[in-house]
């Protein structure tokens, strides 16, 4: 047994052999330093210290002195009483903490594509993230059905245990090729893609610089990472630089700690909550100046920005290699389920052992992966649809200009726009009620809109209430004009 007992300390992954070696050398050198110190100080000093040590030892061991706080021992009966007395709170709060209308959402019939069929009425879809109109695409559906007849629906296991199906490998390869990166990694749900990717790299003790406008999934990823987060004002590069400088000063004071503190910068390509674009060139400049790694969530900009839809980096002509990690949810442009991260093999591969949502969850249903492959095919074959989408976004932006009581926020080119109130009302609820009125009127006139839904108590920085208007390429110019007209009239009705 002796052999067994001493082996694990050297061999088990919890405490590697060479680690102990390095600790040992540290202690050894420390010990020598202390001995050296004692040869230099006067003798009475050593004597005094020795007496002090003996006295403390006596104090601790003597019976009259209680070093630790006295323990209160409860009798069994008292414990039972306490247990009897304790009244737990109910599992959920007595009064709802959410909007009552979210638990009875409108049910959509048929395919939620170009139009939404709600309450037996076809409404123009200005609400879902189906930017490229891939919902209901015949080619994609045919591919998915073919895949269904080959692989069935579920994969019945995580990627490690026979859940890796050839289409997953193919999709990862295609995504890497399309984004012009070395490697891509596939997740089975959009929300958990970035939420798992962040804690895979950023750990306790690390520092993350993050925009205040980021989506909820990023916020949750940051909480899970337990890193220190420094929030900068939305898209405010000066504020970011201020924080970076602040951190730099701190690091200079404690270079030892700084040498193991990783720094990350997390932004979104197009901010879902604001509809504007991150200033990438400036961010890249700051990246190299302050040596922070940059992660970009391109969920809303992939398949949207750039001449061929490759996202933010193409939009600004920045080599994607210089971005450390790009994370994309496939639930928007690609109109399927899941998400992926891409970047250099050095960075991405690490998620295969430490991305919680990758390792501990079943892989994406193969038919949905096939659908994504087909969607990529279409994106490659018809590169003009991205220009088309941007043009329509610009048209909508122009049409939504100068509404009564409302202001259209977001970049012209972004397919996501936020209509916010010009003047603030007393409470957020009042503001939302006004916006909901507009949404209801528009719905009656055949235009489906939605207010941007947030969990108000859980958002770190709650964006002001808004109607989130989205464009998809299938909407014709006339339809966009009609939609904008309906919104204009509704606004006049509410604010007039």
């Amino acid at each position: 047994m002796a052999g067994v007992e001493h082996c694990p300390t050297e061999g088990s992954p919890g405490s590697p052999y060479y680690f102990q070696l390095s600790y040992f050398t540290i202690y050894l050198t420390k010990g020598i330093e202390i001995l050296e110190y004692y040869t230099k100080v006067p003798f009475y000093h050593v004597l005094f210290e020795a007496v002090l040590v003996i006295w403390i030892y006596r104090l601790i061991t003597s019976k009259t002195f209680r070093f630790r706080e006295q323990k209160i021992e409860l009798t069994e009966k008292e414990e039972e009483e306490l247990i009897e007395e304790w009244q737990p709170e109910p599992l959920v709060p007595a009064t709802p903490t959410y909007d009552l209308d979210v638990i009875t959402p409108k049910v959509v019939e048929g395919k939620p594509g170009h139009t939404l069929k709600i309450d037996d009425m076809e409404c123009l879809n200005f609400a879902t993230f189906n930017f490229l109109g891939f919902v209901g695409n015949d080619k994609i559906e045919d591919t998915a059905i073919k895949s269904l007849h080959r692989y069935g629906v579920g994969s019945c296991g995580p990627r490690g245990f026979y859940g890796t199906i050839d289409v997953h490998l193919e999709l990862e390869e295609r995504l890497a090729k399309y984004t012009r990166t070395e490697e891509a990694i596939l997740y089975s749900y959009g929300f958990s893609t970035i939420a798992s990717a962040i804690p895979a790299y950023s750990k306790r003790g690390d520092v993350v610089f993050c925009d205040k406008g980021v989506s909820f999934a990023i916020q949750k990823g940051l909480v899970a990472s337990r890193s220190r987060v420094m929030w900068f004002e939305h898209n405010d590069m000066e504020d970011l630089e201020r924080l970076l400088l602040e951190q730099k000063e701190k690091d200079e004071k404690n270079p030892k700690k700084a040498s193991v503190t990783r720094r990350f910068l997390i932004v979104e390509g197009i901010y879902v909550n604001y509809g504007d674009i991150a200033p990438l060139p400036k961010l890249m400049e700051l990246k190299y100046k302050y040596k922070v790694r940059i992660f970009i969530d391109e969920s809303a900009s992939f398949g949207v920005l750039g001449h061929t839809g490759r996202g933010l980096t193409e939009h600004f002509n920045v080599p994607i290699k210089e971005v450390d990690l790009v994370s994309v949810s496939m639930e928007n442009s690609l109109a399927t389920i899941g998400g992926f991260c891409c970047g250099t093999t050095f960075v991405v591969d690490h998620q295969r052992i430490s991305g919680a949502g990758y390792c501990f969850s079943a892989s994406l249903p193969p038919m949905l992966a096939s659908a994504a492959i087909e969607a990529l095919n279409i994106m490659e074959q018809k590169p003009d649809m991205f220009d088309d989408l941007r043009e329509k976004a610009k048209l909508l932006h122009a049409e939504l200009d100068g509404l009564q009581g409302l202001v259209c926020e977001g970049s012209e080119e972004s397919p996501i726009k936020h209509l916010r109130l010009l003047e603030q009302l007393e409470t957020i609820d009042d503001e939302e009620d006004k916006l909901k009125e507009i949404v209801a009127i528009a719905l009656r006139n055949g235009v489906a809109l939605t207010i941007a839904r947030y969990l108000k108590d859980d958002e770190k920085f709650l964006p002001p209430p808004s109607i989130r208007v989205t464009v998809n390429v299938q909407l014709t110019k006339e339809e966009i004009k009609r939609g904008a007209q309906v919104i204009r009239q509704a606004a006049e009705q509410v604010f007039g």
Binding site: L91, I103, S155, A224, E322, F346, D349
Partner: protein
């Protein structure tokens, strides 16, 4: 064997209703229920005696060998590192792009493990297949290039028996009624909604599935989500908060741990499936309260799994329920691996032990395993009653309103939802055939003759038979007899291949 045996002949439906009529559906806080009746005590005792679970110790030889193995691996890895540092050997690892002078991305130890333990053995995992994850799979052979940094497909495909997928009831299939229904769903609803449940992501399908799941697990209401992992990680934070305590099994799944961490609640851990440990943690927590705030805990949530996927152990549910009632705690039960797979009617551990589902506050499960689909559900007691103040609010409504997934994540894909609906109906026997019964019957060893005739079932289904045979072959196995998971413990990682 188990106390539920005699009752298991009764269909679960009638059992549920008979129980329900006896007592009002409360959350388990009323004082008269805190004390167990003599009959219940006796039953519990009987249960304790009959519950056998094995965690065999490793033979000394195997233990020594596996430690030696790690020792050698670390030893040679250090030498390799040294040689790379001296420039004798070249590292094959891919490089980071242009980040000179940055703080290294990976901590030293993690990096060491990744380079020297994960990479050389990674080819034993992540093996790609090119078929359904059914009973027979087509494995795609790979070649190792660059000492494990790359794998190349050779193009050779081998047919193998699959004992690795969680395809308990064999619903991972590419023909049959479920597949036809899924195809219909694609034609009718497309593949995704591109919107969250709070906005325009709700289809009638989702509502239908939710009612069905609620009926299946024996709860009044349920909500479904697109991913099992997120079901845990995004919903636990809506149920507990800073003032509360989570008591978690030491071996809980990563999704439960993530959810607990995100919730901000204090987390205490008890020894895996050890009721003494659970009781002492519970007792101490209730008696001492929150040590930081010097106040009693708001509420205490016990989080456990029905069947543990890595150990193959089955939860001691009746004992947990008794403790939960005694200490007025709440119970969150993750049935990812037990729903559909254990119990005479395939309804999970409550069905197996004959426990009233009303005694479990939150029932969670995933569709990934037995149903051959993807996603997860949460089902809960509808009315949440406190003994002091009588008010009612639906737990599921609360989850619907404040779940992170419901507000921000895309809703479940229509064909996947339909796969769950049709497979669940088959298990419940509502499709008009006895297909479900046949599959469930195969779960019982007594029907082995039958099993051998059913060609489509996954090999893992014959789990009791499999467990016995594997034990006869001298492997060390873990877990409970009723569990469909049979962990074979392999001591030297070098043998994995």
């Amino acid at each position: 064997m188990t106390p539920s045996k005699d009752k298991s002949k009764m269909p679960v439906r009638s059992r549920l209703t008979s129980r329900r009529s006896q007592k009002s559906r409360k959350n388990g806080f009323s004082s008269e229920k805190n004390q167990l009746s003599a009959l219940q005590e006796e039953k519990l005792k009987e249960f304790r005696e009959s519950f056998v679970e094995e965690f065999q110790d490793a033979p000394l030889y195997a233990a020594v060998m596996s430690y030696l193995f790690y020792f050698y691996m670390a030893f040679f890895a250090c030498i390799k590192d040294l040689m790379i540092r001296l420039g004798v050997r070249k590292s094959k690892r891919p490089k980071e792009y242009k980040n000179e002078g940055f703080v290294p991305l990976y901590p030293e130890f993690e990096d060491f493990y990744f380079r020297h333990i994960y990479i050389p053995y990674s080819w034993a995992f992540n093996k790609p297949i090119s078929s359904t994850a059914g009973p027979i799979i087509q494995l795609m052979e790979r070649e190792v290039v660059d000492g494990g940094w790359q794998h190349r497909l050779t193009g050779v495909k081998t047919r193998m028996i699959n004992t690795g997928s969680y395809n308990y009831l064999g619903f991972a299939e590419n023909v049959g009624p479920c597949v036809e229904a899924a195809e219909e769903a694609v034609k009718k609803h497309g593949l995704a909604c591109c919107s969250s449940r709070h906005e325009f992501g709700s289809l009638a399908l989702h509502n239908e599935l939710e009612t069905l799941v609620a009926r299946f697990v024996g709860k009044p209401a349920a909500m479904v989500f697109g991913m099992g992992f997120s079901t845990n990680s995004t919903n636990i934070p809506t149920l507990v908060g800073k003032k509360d305590l989570i008591i978690s099994d030491a071996l809980n799944h990563s999704s439960l741990v993530t959810g607990a961490r995100l919730s901000g609640a204090t987390i205490r851990v008890f020894k895996h499936n050890d009721m003494k440990s659970l009781e002492s943690v519970l007792r101490e927590s209730v008696v001492k309260g929150n040590p930081r705030r010097h106040r009693p805990w708001g509420k205490i949530l016990i989080i456990v799994e029905g069947v543990y996927s890595m150990e193959g152990s089955v939860l001691r549910l009746p004992e947990v329920v008794a403790l939960k009632k005694k200490y007025k705690a709440l119970l969150y039960l993750d049935e990812a691996h037990s729903i559909g797979a254990v119990g005479p009617n395939g309804r999970g551990v409550t069905d197996y032990f004959g426990v009233d589902p009303a005694d479990v506050d939150i029932m969670m499960g995933t569709f990934t395993k037995s149903f051959g689909a993807a996603g997860g559900y949460i089902a809960a007691t509808q009315v949440n009653i406190n003994t002091l103040i009588e008010y009612s609010w639906e737990i599921i409504d609360h989850i619907r309103g404040s779940s992170h997934s419901a507000a921000y994540a895309s809703s479940m894909s229509p064909p996947v939802a339909v796969q769950v609906i049709s497979s669940m109906k088959i298990i419940m026997g509502e499709d008009g055939t006895d297909e479900g019964k046949r599959r469930l019957k195969a779960l019982d060893e007594n029907n082995r003759e039958d099993i051998l005739k059913t060609r489509f079932l996954s090999a893992i289904i014959y789990f009791r038979y499999f467990r016995r045979r594997v034990k006869e072959m001298g492997y060390v196995v873990f877990g409970h007899n009723a569990s469909p998971i049979i962990p074979l413990v392999i001591f030297a990682p070098g043998n994995t291949a």
